[in-house]
């Protein structure tokens, strides 16, 4: 594959790029301190401009990884010759908001060159694999020196993946329906979650179909009604009323469509773009074997590959 990289994660930084057991407790202060370390590798950029770029990109959003005491602030910079990583740890915790639960024990700052859209995601994937769970993060946060922290990352021999795969950009927090659910539940979800399309799973968690707002519209207004040029005689949304009358008795497997795009977790992310472009999809489903592992929306793709 063109552009393949086989860097080890540990080779992207040294023990001098690590703030071990930082006494700073405020997240923004830690980001400034890490930017100071990273600036040594960034010709033409100083710590202040890097910090400003990070805050501007974050636009007030927390860099915390949901559910983990891990924060990954990052930004793309022009004229950066290579990826730059700096790490901070604190067994006491670093706050990224007023909520006491919004604290991190490990902060990994990633600066990526603008010219390499997938590089940040490759590094993020390697970081995610090296800090698999909460216990591992706690263990890294308890290490006493920068040398030990660097040894942890380097000693595991973790390499950057050769390419960004679908699993690297998928969203694992998603809303789904069961094929035994009724149309009523689907309409409730569409209304509550403001979604355009919801995956339908069977009892084993396998992806078996998709219900979309478009599909619902076609159920209410089939071709034979649309033949009429003037629908004004149909007052009070008769077709919709009829569907609503039976929404509790209409099973999703009767109305869902099997026309959707699904890719395996290992599929290159560019395949996601191809599916979206070729089949005009707003979202692509990522499966592990047949089980739904995540969803990539067009917005996710643009944000993660072109901006993050």
């Amino acid at each position: 594959m063109a552009g393949e990289t086989n860097h080890k994660l540990g080779a992207l930084f040294s023990k001098d790029d690590i703030l071990c057991q930082t006494p700073l407790a405020d997240g923004n202060e830690v980001i400034k301190a890490l930017a100071d370390l990273a600036a040594r590798h960034c010709p033409g950029a100083d710590a202040d401009s890097i910090t400003a770029a990070i805050f501007e990109r974050g636009n007030g959003a927390s860099p915390l990884v949901p559910g983990y005491p891990l924060a990954v602030p990052h930004v793309r910079l022009d004229n950066l010759p290579r990826i730059v990583v700096a790490v901070a740890t604190s067994s006491a915790g670093i706050r990224f908001g007023p909520d006491p639960n919004s604290s991190a024990k490990v902060v990994v700052l990633i600066l990526a060159p603008s010219s390499q859209p997938g590089m940040y995601l490759q590094v993020l994937s390697a970081v995610a694999r090296s800090l698999l769970d909460r216990r591992t993060i706690e263990r890294v946060a308890s290490l006493r020196s920068g040398e030990e922290v660097w040894q942890y990352f380097n000693g595991r021999g973790l390499e950057l993946p050769a390419y960004v795969c679908a699993a690297d950009i998928m969203n694992t927090q998603f809303v789904c329906l069961r094929d035994t659910d009724t149309l009523k539940r689907a309409i409730d979800l569409f209304a509550a979650e403001n979604l355009a399309e919801i995956p339908v799973l069977d009892q084993d968690g396998d992806l078996v179909g998709v219900v979309s707002e478009n599909e619902l519209l076609h159920v209410c207004l089939p071709d034979y009604i649309l033949w009429m040029e003037d629908l004004s005689p149909i007052i009070n949304f008769q077709p919709f009323a009829e569907i609503l009358k039976n929404e509790g008795k209409t099973w999703l497997h009767d109305i869902m469509t099997r026309e959707y795009s699904a890719l395996q977790c290992e599929a290159p992310a560019i395949q996601v773009a191809k599916e979206m472009a070729r089949h005009d999809r707003r979202q692509v489903y990522v499966v592990r074997s047949r089980k739904l592992a995540g969803i990539i929306t067009l917005q996710d793709f643009v944000n993660k590959v072109l901006r993050e």
Binding site: V219, C220, L221, P222, D223, Y224, I225, W227, M228, E229, D230, P233, I234, Q238, P239, F240, E242, I243, N246, K249, T250, H253, D254
Partner: protein
């Protein structure tokens, strides 16, 4: 899509080889048979055009245009003869019908018809098959076969989508019934209006002589289909019962103001029905009102719905098909112009001696077999000059039934078949194999033609004379 009409160079060369070989062999055979120079050229170009439209079907209009130019260039056809033989009257009749169908669609008539089937009480698989077959035949008889199959396919897709069953068997039944029904009036099929106009039959000649035959054949076709697709029909019955148990319908139903649509269609049918009386009353040439009625109606409807007038002409009229028909009629007319058809008819007459009625099985057999593989309009356009020379009404009806019923034999036998298969492929990515179709098609085709022959034999004494 751009690649739909693409042929590889090798594929193109082999197809061109087939076209050239067919043309050369025809020319040699015509020469050996003692045809003169013009006749040999017209036969060779006619066969070249027909074979080329078959092997380059997506490009058929372009080929018909080139074939016409070749005939004009070789001086076997003149411009006045082209104008006379391109059947502008029939083309305009079809334009009028297409515009009227577009207005009827807008007015909700077809929506109401589909909903009437969807709301039928105690629906079973058998009832659905019978209803779609009868509806297909009736719609084909009063509008045309392509319109009929487009609306029926939408009904079948709605029901099969709701029941989650394979729509193919039900689409095939609808196509077979549509082709049979299209033989019952002059409005059902371009072949019908072509034969009716050329033979000088009236609308009522069709109603009294073609419609009863089509009804008998329809009953036979439905029975064959019920037996052929028994497992699929039983499955549909089971699913319908399950849905009924849950008090669920087959699709949303809306109040449709169908009265105006029925009034428009009824008025058109009445005007066509009394065409012969009006012609006699006004001293007009035979079938003048018949041809003008749909045009007159189209004009009135376009005045009424003037905001949509351009839409009806630009979107509802199948200009590609109509232009193809015009060119085809002109190419076939060349055979008459050069005297080829007179010679062929002479040979047929010699074969049957003083009883041309004996040719009926041959005409129905050849037209059925020909229409199974060649568009039936193409076949009938070529056969009409020969039938006209033979001067026996029996043979006109044999040609009509052979051409319409023969269209059921293969999946490419009529425009309705091709349209329905295209809809199945587009919507479900389902492909009907040639084998799957032809097994049922041959059975239906043979039974239909035998029944038609028997019915014609019984009606022989009462058949109207051709004019």
């Amino acid at each position: 899509m751009a690649h739909e009409n693409a042929f590889s160079t090798r594929d193109m060369l082999s197809r061109l080889g087939i076209v050239a070989a067919a043309s050369i062999v025809t020319g040699i055979l015509a020469h050996i048979s003692g045809f003169d120079g013009n006749q040999v050229v017209s036969c060779a170009i006619f066969i070249m055009t027909i074979v080329a439209t078959l092997v380059f079907w997506p490009l058929r209009l372009a080929i018909a245009l080139v074939g016409l130019a070749a005939l004009l260039g070789c001086r076997v056809l003149t411009l006045p003869a082209f104008i006379a033989s391109c059947q502008l009257d029939i083309i305009l009749f079809l334009v009028g019908m297409m515009v009227t169908v577009g207005v009827l669609k807008d007015l909700g008539l077809f929506t109401w018809i589909i909903q009437s089937v969807l709301r039928m009480p105690r629906m079973t698989g058998t009832r659905f098959v019978v209803a779609t077959a009868v509806l297909g035949g009736a719609l084909a008889a009063v509008v045309d076969e392509v319109t009929s199959i487009v609306f029926l396919a939408a009904l079948i897709f709605q029901v099969c989508d709701t029941l989650k069953i394979r729509p193919t068997p039900f689409v095939i039944v609808a196509v077979l019934a549509t082709n049979v029904g299209s033989a019952s009036t002059m409005l059902g099929n371009p072949v019908g209006v072509l034969i009716g106009y050329k033979a000088g039959f009236t609308f009522w000649d069709f109603i009294f002589h073609a419609a009863p035959v089509a009804a008998i054949v329809m009953a036979a076709v439905v029975l064959i289909c019920l037996a052929w697709f028994r497992p699929e029909i039983q499955e549909m019955s089971v699913r319908l019962q399950q849905r009924r148990d849950k008090d669920l319908g087959l699709g949303p139903l809306v109040q449709v103001p169908y009265g105006r649509g029925i009034a428009v269609l009824a008025a058109l049918l009445v005007l066509i029905g009394v065409h012969h009386g009006i012609e006699k009353l006004l001293g007009l040439e035979r079938n003048t009102v018949l041809i003008v009625a749909p045009l007159f109606f189209a004009g009135l409807l376009m005045l009424w719905r003037h905001q949509r007038a351009r839409h009806y002409i630009e979107q509802e009229v199948e200009w590609w098909t109509l232009l193809f028909f015009m060119m085809l009629f002109a190419v076939a007319g060349t055979l008459e112009h050069t005297g080829v058809t007179s010679r062929i008819a002479g040979n047929f007459a010699a074969m049957s001696g003083s009883r041309p009625i004996l040719l009926a099985p041959l005409v129905i057999g050849i037209s059925a077999a020909g229409s199974a593989f060649v568009d039936n309009v193409v076949f009938v356009a070529a056969a009409i000059p020969v039938i006209r020379e033979l001067q026996h009404p029996y043979l006109w009806w044999a040609l009509l039934f052979g051409a319409c019923f023969g269209g059921n034999i293969t999946m490419i036998g009529s425009t309705a078949n091709i349209v329905a298969i295209g809809m199945l492929e587009k919507r479900y990515h389902l492909h009907v194999s040639f084998r799957e179709w032809i097994r049922l098609g041959v059975a239906v085709g043979i039974v239909s033609c035998l029944l038609a022959l028997a019915a014609l034999a019984l009606m022989a004494r009462f058949l109207p004379a051709a004019h």
